[in-house]
Assembly symmetry: C2
Homo-oligomer: 170 residues x 2
């Protein structure tokens, strides 16, 4: 609609695939793929008494051990009350340890316990298995494109967080 139907505009390799129809398919692909993306961990979490919110907390604590509550708040984009409810149960159940900051004693630094790491590994293994199959199926070039498009789709703040995690990990 906004683009018109034009394709072979001179000098524009970039117009060919941007019809509304192509974009709609991209939108639907995101929707259906995300469902698959979360399906395996969700099944595991259902058996325990945890939800997706617990998974997210566990994931990012594992990726950035010692992160503060405030930092996690920004990464997850939820309210402290919402996160606190999740963290409380994880701490009570002995999956997460909350250590008072050494320099700034107001801060709480979060770590996974062995039990927490065990659950993280279980969830992560399931989710990585699907990602690995998809990556294998699609091939290296497709994977590079996948990553490029996803990164371009993020809000700038989230891209910042994403790249921080990227650097620390590699």
């Amino acid at each position: 609609m906004a683009e018109g139907g034009g394709a072979a505009a001179p000098g524009g390799e970039s117009l060919l695939f941007l019809t509304d129809e192509q974009l709609r398919k991209g939108i639907e692909a995101m929707y259906f793929a995300y469902r698959g993306f979360t399906a395996d961990p969700d099944r595991i979490l259902d058996d325990l008494e945890y939800g997706r919110a617990h998974h997210r907390a566990i994931h990012f604590i594992n990726r950035a051990p010692g992160t503060t509550v405030n930092n996690l708040l920004h990464i997850l984009g939820v309210t402290k009350q919402s996160l606190n409810r999740v963290l409380r149960t994880l701490i009570e159940d002995g999956l997460v340890e909350s250590r008072i900051g050494a320099r700034d004693k107001r801060e709480r630094h979060l770590y996974l316990t062995e039990k927490g790491e065990a659950l993280e590994a279980e969830l992560s293994t399931a989710q990585r298995a699907r990602m690995r199959d998809a990556f294998r199926h699609a091939g290296p070039e497709a994977v590079a494109g996948f990553r490029t498009v996803l990164e371009a789709m993020m809000d700038p703040d989230m891209r910042r967080h994403f790249n921080r995690l990227k650097d620390s990990g590699a």
Copy 2:
């Protein structure tokens, strides 16, 4: 962990990018990108009294006008009670019309009204704008890879629905 660290195994172009670290980055990319993906429609929906569930219903009714409740149920993967709550408000508000089936009078066929189409267009325009920017930024080859990986990530049932919509649209 499951893969080992090996890279240049002979004959395997497919092992190079499948380290756990690469897979974790793929997982995080999906998470952060999906947040961006839903952010713009969510902002619009907040102002009205609708949520993401309404958006999904509107989207797929628009894509497959005349679809039955049952079909929508399968596509969205929710219970009829959950969908019904959403559909009821959309029908009451005059965004969706429910017509009794001609051949099978038990079925309800769903259509967007003009008002419904207007909201669909507003939501879709916002979401497509982000998708378009991301696609432009990434380039055609990246977009192809994006689509390939996402399709490989879907559950088979969802891939079926995805491809049906694809065919009918093109």
